[in-house]
Every structure is written in structure tokens, then in C-alpha cells.
């Protein structure tokens, strides 16, 4: 890529950012980011912990939306790769003396490597079949973490690895915030440029995109790899945040949670992950008192959103009159 192309891409991102900042979602995101910057002053250490988890979850969900929403590759392996990133980072840091900060990056790289074996079937199959084959792969990784107990610590998980920044939570918070915002911006930059256009073309009609001269397999592979690596980074951050990594972190339940957030937030809009994360995760934390009832609520929410708001909360209009009009038009 030439310098000129990069400059054009950056210009494009800048103009799109300016445009998007004026929309309803843009204003909300600006407010949320501002809130996140002041979170350490506003919240108790316990609350700050939860905000940090929320940020990481948003990153993981966004990387899933990047793959599933934009390319239409409905992968179930994302939570498993998120877990692989976590395991890789903390094991590298504890056993091989890699610096924790570098290990986070390496976690992303390892997750990317683990996404390669399954990428071949993912590129060849389509629709629901992608979901099936990645679900099988996710289960293999899940059982793998239990079987390889010498490396992963088995069912009870892996603990006792070095902490980030010697355990200073506030510094760590700003590090997580900066990394999450940077990676979200990177994905946003890819999506508003040619890459994102081709991705959406592939989602709508892979054959048409191919016919227009795009190297569809290469775009899909890049998208899958980038999304999976970012999930790995998110997993690494989460492992350092909660100081343990165990097989339940990459179980199918975790995947379902990510999917629910992505779908409720909206698969067609990149910002959907932010809404989905805040609504599902935040809601779960606020409603911790009512216990399991919250899971009933978000199971129902998943159904209602898919039936009536296929574009999720970020992509839907909440103008009541418009909604009514749609009801009558049907």
C-alpha cells in the first residue's frame, strides 16, 4: 500500500467519524466514552472492576460483530478463541517470563493462529453450516483445555500468573480503556473503508462480490483472522483482569452471551456491540439481586429483538409513530 492510499483511508475515517458523531448513536457513544474516562473517580473499586469487565466484553462482542455481522460468517468459535488468547497470554507470562504487556499482544497472535485450522471450512461453507462447524471446533478447544491439564491447569483453571502493572488497578483501567478504544477504532477504520464495503458485499452476495473482481476468500480470511485475534486480545485482558482463567470462560454459554449481546445491540451496525454490552451485561450486574430471573429476561429479549428489531437496538428507530406505521403497513 502506498503512502497516498493510507492518507486517503485516514481522510475517509476522519470524515466518516465526523458524520457519525452527529447521529443519535454517535452522541451517545461520545457521552459513554466521556463517562468511561472519569470512571475511576466516580466509582468504587468494585464498580470499576465491573466497568473494566464491561469494556473488555464490548471489545469481544465488537470483534464478533465484525466477523458475524459484516461478513455474515456466523461463528461460534469466538468465545473459544477469546479463551485461547487468555490462556496463551498468562501461560507465556508465567512460564516463559514474557512481559505481561507483550503477552497480551501474543495472546491475540496465538488466537489468530488457532483460528487458522477452522478458517478453511469456514471459507468453504455458508449460512448455518458455518455455525455448525465452528461450534464443533469450539467444543474441541473447550475439551482440550480440560484434557491438557498439565498446561492449562485443567477444570479448576490457571492462576498465579504475574499481574499487569504490579496490580495497580487504576493504571490498568486506563490501559484497558485505551486498548479497547484503539482496537475499536481500528476495526471502525477497516469497516468504513473499502474493506468494509467488500465485507458487506460478501454478506449480501458472495458470488456477486467475487464477480466484481474481489478476492472473496482473501477478504473473508483476513476478516476472520482479524476478528479472532482481537477476541484473543480481549480474552488476555479479561484473564489479567479477573486473575484466573478456567474452561467455563470459553464454554458455549459464554459464546451464547456474546451472541446475545451482539444481536440485541445490532449486527448491522458496528456500535451495536456497545449497546448490547451495556444493556445485557450492565443489566445483569444491576439486576444481580433478582438472580436467575435476569437470564429469563434476556432469553426473552433475544427472541423479541430477533422477531421485531432484526437490526438490533443500535440499528432500529424508536420513533413510536414510525413503528406503528410499520405495523399497519405489514
Amino acid at each position: 500500500m502506498t503512502v497516498e492510499a493510507v492518507r486517503l483511508a485516514v481522510d475517509r475515517v476522519r470524515s466518516r467519524l465526523r458524520e457519525d458523531a452527529r447521529t443519535r448513536n454517535g452522541k451517545l457513544f461520545a457521552a459513554i466514552t466521556a463517562l468511561a474516562v472519569f470512571a475511576p473517580v466516580m466509582f468504587s473499586p468494585y464498580r470499576l472492576e465491573i466497568v473494566m469487565q464491561l469494556l473488555i466484553v464490548i471489545l469481544a462482542v465488537a470483534s464478533w460483530v465484525f466477523v458475524a455481522g459484516y461478513f455474515g460468517m456466523f461463528t461460534f468459535a469466538h468465545a473459544a478463541l477469546y479463551g485461547v488468547g487468555g490462556y496463551a497470554a498468562v501461560i507465556l507470562a508465567a512460564e516463559m517470563g514474557v512481559h505481561p504487556l507483550a503477552s497480551i499482544l501474543l495472546g491475540g497472535v496465538v488466537a489468530g493462529l488457532f483460528s487458522l485450522p477452522i478458517s478453511y471450512p469456514v471459507l468453504r461453507l455458508s449460512g448455518a453450516y458455518v455455525g455448525m462447524v465452528t461450534l464443533a471446533y469450539a467444543e474441541i478447544i473447550y475439551y482440550g483445555t480440560i484434557i491438557l491439564r498439565d498446561v492449562t491447569g485443567g477444570p479448576t483453571g490457571y492462576t498465579g500468573f504475574p499481574q499487569l502493572f504490579g496490580g495497580d488497578r487504576v493504571v490498568m483501567y486506563y490501559f484497558v480503556l485505551a486498548l479497547v478504544v484503539a482496537l475499536m477504532l481500528a476495526m471502525y477504520a477497516l469497516l468504513v473503508n473499502r474493506f468494509g464495503l467488500v465485507a458487506r458485499a460478501i454478506r449480501e452476495s458472495s458470488d456477486a462480490a467475487q464477480m466484481l473482481g474481489n478476492n472473496v476468500p482473501r477478504y473473508k480470511l483476513t476478516g476472520f483472522l482479524v476478528g479472532s485475534s482481537i477476541a484473543g486480545v480481549a480474552g488476555a485482558l479479561q484473564a489479567y483482569n479477573i486473575l484466573i482463567i478456567s474452561p467455563p470462560m470459553l464454554e458455549i454459554d459464554q459464546m451464547i452471551e456474546f451472541m446475545a449481546m451482539g444481536i440485541i445491540g445490532g449486527l448491522r451496525t458496528f456500535g451495536g456491540a456497545v449497546f448490547g454490552g451495556i444493556i445485557v451485561f450492565g443489566f445483569s450486574e444491576v439486576l444481580r439481586d433478582i438472580g436467575e430471573l435476569r437470564l429469563v429476561v434476556w432469553g426473552a429479549l433475544l427472541i423479541v429483538v430477533t422477531l421485531y428489531f432484526p437490526d438490533g437496538i443500535a440499528g432500529s428507530s424508536f420513533d413510536v409513530r414510525k413503528r406503528f406505521q410499520e405495523w399497519f403497513d405489514r
Binding site: 462447524v133 467444543e139 474441541i140 446475545a260 433475544l302
Partner: protein, 291 residues
């Protein structure tokens, strides 16, 4: 070297397990073949069947009544699912993914609604019989044998309905082309509802039959669902015969492999087989034998 006796025992166990697996998996493949729905709430229906059976047994004291109650209630659940959740989306372009998500939502909803309603306690379902037969050095649990017989009976009934009755003809017609079927006077909406009901009823029947082995608790459905999922993929989604062969084959593979490796490794083996089959021929065994 493994003794032949152990090997034979594991093969017999595998056969019985295959019967159970087939009962769970058939519903899953049926509903994909006819309505193109990958039903992620199949495990939840299995679980509901177990609970209905448990309470019906407590209420009436009769196992037959418990089985009947599960079948009826879960059939109704499947019927309602089709009309309330799947029918409104049928015209969507991405129906296969949307239906996957909605049934996933339903699975979460049902599992946790039961959890809130009756608690997470594991409920022991009384065994049908504790008797054991010893035949030629093999140990055969009578309970498992009876479960196997009922499964075979249910599957045979399903085959007869599909191949011999007018309803079966309608189901086959709709699965090939719902628009043409509509022109021939078949109501696809009703056929979809009946099929989803039957598929759910099979899951419910499996739920109550296997309750003595699995016990009954809210998340009991996930493990059988995942196994059935592998079976259905290997057998070929939508192929009933392929699914039967795959259920038997994979159950024996799993049983025999546990002689040497842990249960987790056996699961890895099954999932690896599934990925391999999807890669070589996405239509699975059904793609080879049905063609």
C-alpha cells in the same frame, strides 16, 4: 491388549446408547429437513419432557401416564414455537440464522424459567427396573434394553407415518417445495407446525425415557443436544436414514473409545469426525446413501 469380553460389552453398551441418541437426533434432523430450522431449543424440549414426566409421575404414579404427558405437552410446545416464533420470520432472507438465534433465545428462556420456577435441584427419576440380565458373559441392564425398545418403536412409528400416511406425503411434499405443495392443496404452515410438534415430542419422549439415567435438572438438555448435533451433522442434516446410521456408529465409537481414553477425549474425537465429514461432504452419510 483389551479383552474381547470388554470390547463386546462396550459394543453392546454403544448399541443401546445409539438407540437413545437416535431418538434425540431424529427430531433435530426432521425439522431441518422439512422446515430448514436448526433447532437450538431441542435440548430444552428434552429437559421440559423430563420435568413434565417427573411431575406427572409424582401426580399419577404411572410411568405410562408420565410418558404420555411429556409427549403431549412438548408437542404443544413445539406447535406454539412454530406459530409464535418461527412463522413470523419465514419470509426473511437469512431465515436459517434468524431461526437459530430465536430458538437459542427460547432455550435460554425455558432453561432459566424452569430454574426460577422449580429450582436447580437435581431430581432423581425412579428407575424403571434395577434388574440385570447376564447373557454369555455380557451384562445387560433391563432398563436400558426397555428404553432401547421404546426408542425403536417410536422411530418405527415415525417412519411409518412419513412413508405410508397422507400426512407423511404432505410432509415430504413441503420439505421438497412448499410453494408447489401449497398449489396442490397442502397447507405448509400447518405441516411445519405438525413437524415441529413431532420433532419436539420426540425430544420430550427422549427426555422422560432417559430421565432415570440423566436425572432431571434445568440444564440437562445441553449435553444430549450437543451429541445429537454431532450425530445429525455426520448423518447429514435432513437425512433420517443417515442420522440413524450415524447415531449407531458414533455411539459405538464413543463407547469403545472410552476403553482407552477419557470421556472428554472421546468428545473431541466425535467433534473432529464431525468437522471432517462437513469438510469432505457437507451432506454427511445421507449424501452418500440417499442420492
Amino acid at each position: 491388549m483389551v479383552s474381547l469380553g470388554l470390547l463386546a460389552q462396550q459394543i453392546v453398551n454403544g448399541l443401546f446408547f445409539g438407540g437413545q441418541l437416535a431418538l434425540i437426533a431424529i427430531g433435530l434432523t426432521l425439522i431441518w429437513g422439512v422446515a430448514r430450522v436448526l433447532n437450538f431449543s431441542h435440548g430444552a424440549m428434552f429437559m421440559v419432557g423430563g420435568y413434565v414426566g417427573f411431575f406427572a409421575l409424582g401426580f399419577t404414579g404411572s410411568v405410562a401416564a408420565a410418558i404420555l404427558a411429556s409427549i403431549v405437552v412438548v408437542f404443544a410446545l413445539g406447535w406454539v414455537t412454530e406459530f409464535a416464533l418461527l412463522e413470523p420470520m419465514r419470509d426473511r432472507e437469512e431465515f436459517d440464522i434468524a431461526s437459530m438465534v430465536v430458538t437459542l433465545g427460547l432455550a435460554i428462556f425455558l432453561e432459566n424459567a424452569i430454574l426460577v420456577g422449580v429450582g436447580s435441584r437435581r431430581r432423581a427419576f425412579p428407575a424403571l427396573t434395577e434388574e440385570v440380565w447376564r447373557v454369555a458373559g455380557l451384562t445387560i441392564s433391563v432398563q436400558r434394553f426397555v428404553i432401547f425398545l421404546i426408542s425403536v418403536f417410536a422411530l418405527a412409528a415415525l417412519f411409518l407415518v412419513i412413508s405410508r400416511t397422507k400426512l407423511g406425503l404432505a410432509i415430504r411434499a413441503v420439505s421438497q417445495d412448499d410453494q408447489t405443495a401449497l398449489l396442490m392443496g397442502v397447507r405448509p404452515r400447518r405441516v411445519y407446525a405438525i413437524t415441529l410438534g413431532c420433532s419436539a415430542a420426540l425430544a420430550g419422549l427422549a427426555g422422560v425415557l432417559l430421565a432415570p439415567l440423566f436425572t432431571v435438572y434445568p440444564s440437562v438438555g445441553w449435553y444430549p443436544f450437543l451429541l445429537a448435533f454431532v450425530v445429525v451433522m455426520v448423518g447429514g442434516l435432513g437425512s433420517v436414514r443417515g442420522t440413524l446410521i450415524a447415531a449407531m456408529g458414533l455411539a459405538i465409537v464413543r463407547s469403545v473409545s472410552t476403553i482407552w481414553v477419557a470421556a472428554e477425549s472421546a468428545m473431541v474425537l466425535l467433534f473432529a469426525i464431525m468437522i471432517a465429514v462437513l469438510l469432505i461432504n457437507p451432506d454427511g452419510i445421507g449424501g452418500w446413501i440417499d442420492g
